[in-house]
Protein backbone atom coordinates (compact mmCIF):
# COMPACT_ATOMS: atom_id res chain seq x y z
CA UNK A 1 0.00 0.00 0.00
CA UNK A 2 1.34 3.38 -0.93
CA UNK A 3 1.42 6.31 1.39
CA UNK A 4 1.28 9.90 0.36
CA UNK A 5 4.44 11.85 0.92
CA UNK A 6 5.01 13.98 3.97
CA UNK A 7 8.11 16.05 4.51
CA UNK A 8 9.50 18.87 6.57
CA UNK A 9 9.09 22.41 5.45
CA UNK A 10 12.12 24.65 5.39
CA UNK A 11 12.57 28.38 4.97
CA UNK A 12 13.96 29.59 1.67
CA UNK A 13 16.99 31.15 3.37
CA UNK A 14 19.40 28.54 2.09
CA UNK A 15 19.87 26.25 -0.88
CA UNK A 16 16.81 23.96 -0.89
CA UNK A 17 17.40 20.41 0.21
CA UNK A 18 16.11 17.85 -2.24
CA UNK A 19 14.04 15.13 -0.65
CA UNK A 20 14.00 11.69 -2.21
CA UNK A 21 10.88 9.61 -2.26
CA UNK A 22 10.89 6.57 -0.03
CA UNK A 23 10.25 3.08 -1.32
CA UNK A 24 6.52 2.66 -1.93
CA UNK A 25 5.86 6.34 -1.42
CA UNK A 26 3.70 8.16 -3.97
CA UNK A 27 3.78 11.93 -4.30
CA UNK A 28 0.74 13.30 -6.13
CA UNK A 29 1.33 16.76 -7.55
CA UNK A 30 -0.14 18.95 -10.28
CA UNK A 31 1.79 20.75 -13.00
CA UNK A 32 0.46 23.40 -15.38
CA UNK A 33 1.18 22.25 -18.94
CA UNK A 34 0.67 23.66 -22.42
CA UNK A 35 -1.11 20.72 -24.01
CA UNK A 36 -3.16 17.72 -23.01
CA UNK A 37 -1.51 15.52 -25.65
CA UNK A 38 0.94 13.48 -23.63
CA UNK A 39 2.58 12.23 -26.85
CA UNK A 40 3.39 15.75 -27.97
CA UNK A 41 6.91 17.17 -27.49
CA UNK A 42 5.21 20.26 -26.10
CA UNK A 43 3.83 18.14 -23.25
CA UNK A 44 7.29 16.92 -22.24
CA UNK A 45 8.56 20.44 -22.80
CA UNK A 46 6.19 21.65 -20.11
CA UNK A 47 8.27 19.71 -17.61
CA UNK A 48 11.53 21.37 -18.57
CA UNK A 49 13.13 23.61 -15.99
CA UNK A 50 13.91 27.24 -16.63
CA UNK A 51 17.56 26.19 -16.87
CA UNK A 52 16.78 23.60 -19.57
CA UNK A 53 14.70 26.18 -21.43
CA UNK A 54 17.64 28.56 -21.38
CA UNK A 55 15.83 31.20 -19.37
CA UNK A 56 18.18 33.53 -17.54
CA UNK A 57 18.40 33.20 -13.74
CA UNK A 58 16.26 35.65 -11.80
CA UNK A 59 16.04 36.64 -8.16
CA UNK A 60 16.93 33.83 -5.78
CA UNK A 61 17.77 31.58 -8.71
CA UNK A 62 21.07 33.43 -8.77
CA UNK A 63 21.75 32.73 -5.11
CA UNK A 64 20.28 29.23 -5.15
CA UNK A 65 20.79 27.89 -8.69
CA UNK A 66 19.24 24.55 -7.77
CA UNK A 67 15.80 26.20 -7.86
CA UNK A 68 16.35 27.04 -11.51
CA UNK A 69 16.86 23.37 -12.36
CA UNK A 70 13.50 22.34 -10.92
CA UNK A 71 9.88 22.88 -11.93
CA UNK A 72 7.04 24.24 -9.85
CA UNK A 73 4.14 21.97 -8.99
CA UNK A 74 1.16 22.15 -6.66
CA UNK A 75 -0.06 19.71 -4.10
CA UNK A 76 -3.69 20.35 -4.86
CA UNK A 77 -5.42 20.36 -8.20
CA UNK A 78 -7.38 23.43 -7.17
CA UNK A 79 -4.21 25.49 -6.56
CA UNK A 80 -2.80 24.45 -9.95
CA UNK A 81 -6.06 25.20 -11.76
CA UNK A 82 -6.47 28.58 -10.13
CA UNK A 83 -2.84 29.44 -10.83
CA UNK A 84 -3.35 28.50 -14.49
CA UNK A 85 -6.44 30.69 -14.60
CA UNK A 86 -4.59 33.58 -12.96
CA UNK A 87 -1.58 33.21 -15.25
CA UNK A 88 -2.90 31.65 -18.50
CA UNK A 89 0.30 32.36 -20.43
CA UNK A 90 2.01 29.34 -18.85
CA UNK A 91 -0.62 26.84 -19.95
CA UNK A 92 -4.29 25.98 -20.10
CA UNK A 93 -3.98 22.43 -18.81
CA UNK A 94 -3.17 20.81 -15.49
CA UNK A 95 -1.48 17.42 -15.42
CA UNK A 96 -1.73 15.11 -12.44
CA UNK A 97 1.59 13.43 -11.69
CA UNK A 98 2.14 10.39 -9.54
CA UNK A 99 5.77 10.42 -8.60
CA UNK A 100 7.44 7.39 -7.12
CA UNK A 101 11.00 6.52 -6.24
CA UNK A 102 11.25 4.86 -9.66
CA UNK A 103 10.50 8.18 -11.35
CA UNK A 104 13.84 9.39 -10.08
CA UNK A 105 12.37 12.69 -9.00
CA UNK A 106 13.25 14.64 -5.89
CA UNK A 107 11.31 17.49 -4.41
CA UNK A 108 11.40 20.48 -2.09
CA UNK A 109 8.35 21.80 -0.32
CA UNK A 110 8.37 25.59 -0.05
CA UNK A 111 7.37 27.04 3.26
CA UNK A 112 5.18 29.57 1.41
CA UNK A 113 2.86 29.55 -0.37
CA UNK A 114 1.21 26.52 1.12
CA UNK A 115 1.21 23.50 -1.17
CA UNK A 116 3.86 24.71 -3.59
CA UNK A 117 6.77 22.40 -4.39
CA UNK A 118 9.75 22.36 -6.69
CA UNK A 119 10.52 18.98 -8.20
CA UNK A 120 13.66 17.85 -9.99
CA UNK A 121 13.79 15.10 -12.53
CA UNK A 122 14.18 14.25 -16.19
CA UNK A 123 11.47 16.04 -18.18
CA UNK A 124 10.53 12.86 -20.08
CA UNK A 125 10.27 10.84 -16.87
CA UNK A 126 8.16 13.52 -15.26
CA UNK A 127 5.91 13.68 -18.32
CA UNK A 128 5.49 9.91 -18.32
CA UNK A 129 4.36 10.01 -14.69
CA UNK A 130 1.31 12.05 -15.68
CA UNK A 131 -1.86 10.04 -15.20
CA UNK A 132 -4.43 12.65 -16.18
CA UNK A 133 -4.62 16.07 -17.78
CA UNK A 134 -7.52 18.48 -17.61
CA UNK A 135 -8.29 21.67 -19.47
CA UNK A 136 -8.75 24.81 -17.41
CA UNK A 137 -9.14 27.29 -20.25
CA UNK A 138 -11.57 30.04 -19.32
CA UNK A 139 -13.04 30.00 -22.79
CA UNK A 140 -13.49 26.25 -23.09
CA UNK A 141 -15.45 23.69 -21.18
CA UNK A 142 -14.37 23.60 -17.59
CA UNK A 143 -13.77 19.96 -16.76
CA UNK A 144 -12.33 20.68 -13.37
CA UNK A 145 -15.60 21.20 -11.62
CA UNK A 146 -14.27 24.46 -10.23
CA UNK A 147 -16.01 27.71 -11.00
CA UNK A 148 -14.31 29.87 -13.58
CA UNK A 149 -12.68 32.88 -11.98
CA UNK A 150 -11.79 36.28 -13.30
Amino acid sequence: MCSLSRCQTAPMESEPEQTELAEGEVLVVYRIVRTADSESPEFAGSFKSSWELGLPPRGRERTYPLIRRGVSVWETQEAAIRTALSYPQIGHYVAELRLTRETGATYYRWEKPSGHLTIWGDALNLASSAVDTICVDKGSENKSGLPNTG
Binding site: R58, E61, I67, Y87, S114, H116, T118
Partner: protein, 116 residues
Protein backbone atom coordinates in the same frame (compact mmCIF):
# COMPACT_ATOMS: atom_id res chain seq x y z
CA UNK B 1 -0.96 36.56 2.10
CA UNK B 2 2.10 35.28 0.23
CA UNK B 3 3.57 36.74 -2.94
CA UNK B 4 5.15 34.44 -5.48
CA UNK B 5 7.29 35.58 -8.38
CA UNK B 6 6.93 33.22 -11.34
CA UNK B 7 8.89 33.14 -14.58
CA UNK B 8 7.51 32.58 -18.08
CA UNK B 9 7.80 28.80 -17.69
CA UNK B 10 5.59 28.88 -14.61
CA UNK B 11 8.44 28.15 -12.25
CA UNK B 12 8.78 29.99 -8.96
CA UNK B 13 11.68 32.38 -8.64
CA UNK B 14 11.04 33.68 -5.13
CA UNK B 15 8.32 34.00 -2.51
CA UNK B 16 7.66 36.68 0.08
CA UNK B 17 5.25 37.14 2.94
CA UNK B 18 5.59 40.89 2.61
CA UNK B 19 4.05 42.55 -0.44
CA UNK B 20 6.38 45.55 -0.35
CA UNK B 21 9.42 43.28 -0.34
CA UNK B 22 7.99 41.27 -3.22
CA UNK B 23 7.31 44.39 -5.25
CA UNK B 24 10.72 45.82 -4.41
CA UNK B 25 12.37 42.57 -5.52
CA UNK B 26 10.50 42.57 -8.83
CA UNK B 27 11.58 46.14 -9.49
CA UNK B 28 15.14 45.37 -8.43
CA UNK B 29 15.30 42.46 -10.88
CA UNK B 30 13.85 44.56 -13.69
CA UNK B 31 16.24 47.42 -12.91
CA UNK B 32 19.19 45.08 -13.47
CA UNK B 33 17.61 43.07 -16.30
CA UNK B 34 14.97 45.14 -18.12
CA UNK B 35 14.00 42.16 -20.31
CA UNK B 36 12.64 40.47 -17.17
CA UNK B 37 9.78 42.99 -17.17
CA UNK B 38 7.92 40.90 -19.73
CA UNK B 39 8.80 37.45 -18.41
CA UNK B 40 8.11 37.68 -14.68
CA UNK B 41 4.80 37.95 -12.89
CA UNK B 42 3.77 38.52 -9.30
CA UNK B 43 0.96 36.41 -7.94
CA UNK B 44 -0.66 36.65 -4.49
CA UNK B 45 -1.71 33.52 -2.59
CA UNK B 46 -3.98 33.19 0.42
CA UNK B 47 -3.36 31.12 3.53
CA UNK B 48 -4.71 28.02 1.78
CA UNK B 49 -2.20 28.35 -1.04
CA UNK B 50 -4.78 29.52 -3.56
CA UNK B 51 -4.07 32.45 -5.87
CA UNK B 52 -5.90 35.70 -5.24
CA UNK B 53 -6.62 37.75 -8.34
CA UNK B 54 -4.69 37.65 -11.57
CA UNK B 55 -0.96 37.54 -12.10
CA UNK B 56 0.56 40.99 -12.47
CA UNK B 57 3.31 41.36 -15.05
CA UNK B 58 6.54 42.77 -13.64
CA UNK B 59 6.16 45.82 -15.83
CA UNK B 60 2.78 46.53 -14.22
CA UNK B 61 3.78 45.87 -10.61
CA UNK B 62 3.21 49.08 -8.61
CA UNK B 63 6.28 50.66 -7.05
CA UNK B 64 7.22 49.34 -3.64
CA UNK B 65 7.10 52.79 -2.11
CA UNK B 66 4.74 55.62 -2.92
CA UNK B 67 5.79 59.18 -2.11
CA UNK B 68 3.01 61.55 -1.07
CA UNK B 69 3.11 65.33 -0.73
CA UNK B 70 3.10 64.86 3.02
CA UNK B 71 6.20 62.67 2.74
CA UNK B 72 7.95 65.43 0.80
CA UNK B 73 7.10 68.07 3.43
CA UNK B 74 8.22 65.79 6.22
CA UNK B 75 11.49 65.15 4.44
CA UNK B 76 12.03 68.90 4.00
CA UNK B 77 11.14 69.66 7.63
CA UNK B 78 13.26 66.90 9.06
CA UNK B 79 16.56 68.85 8.98
CA UNK B 80 14.85 71.85 10.57
CA UNK B 81 13.36 69.68 13.30
CA UNK B 82 16.75 68.10 13.86
CA UNK B 83 18.38 71.52 14.47
CA UNK B 84 19.24 72.13 18.13
CA UNK B 85 17.49 75.35 19.00
CA UNK B 86 18.82 77.47 21.90
CA UNK B 87 16.98 77.45 25.21
CA UNK B 88 15.48 80.91 25.26
CA UNK B 89 14.76 80.80 28.99
CA UNK B 90 18.49 80.90 29.63
CA UNK B 91 18.64 84.30 27.92
CA UNK B 92 16.10 85.95 30.23
CA UNK B 93 17.83 87.85 33.06
CA UNK B 94 17.42 86.49 36.55
CA UNK B 95 15.58 89.58 37.79
CA UNK B 96 12.93 89.10 35.12
CA UNK B 97 12.44 85.49 36.04
CA UNK B 98 12.12 86.17 39.79
CA UNK B 99 10.41 89.58 39.84
CA UNK B 100 6.78 89.56 40.79
CA UNK B 101 4.50 92.19 39.40
CA UNK B 102 1.66 93.77 41.30
CA UNK B 103 -1.68 93.55 39.65
CA UNK B 104 -2.85 97.06 38.80
CA UNK B 105 -6.44 98.04 39.67
CA UNK B 106 -8.87 97.77 36.85
CA UNK B 107 -10.20 101.13 35.68
CA UNK B 108 -13.89 101.64 36.11
CA UNK B 109 -15.86 104.72 35.03
CA UNK B 110 -17.20 106.98 37.77
CA UNK B 111 -20.98 106.98 38.28
CA UNK B 112 -21.16 110.47 36.68
CA UNK B 113 -19.28 109.37 33.61
CA UNK B 114 -21.42 106.28 33.34
CA UNK B 115 -24.61 108.37 33.50
CA UNK B 116 -23.32 110.77 30.84
Amino acid sequence: MDYLILDSAGNAVACFEDEVKARATVHAIVAVEPEAADSLVLLAYDEDGLPVGNAVRAVDVPPAFEITTQDVFQALLKPVQAMKLPDWTQMVPDWAQTKTFKTLPVWEPSPETARA
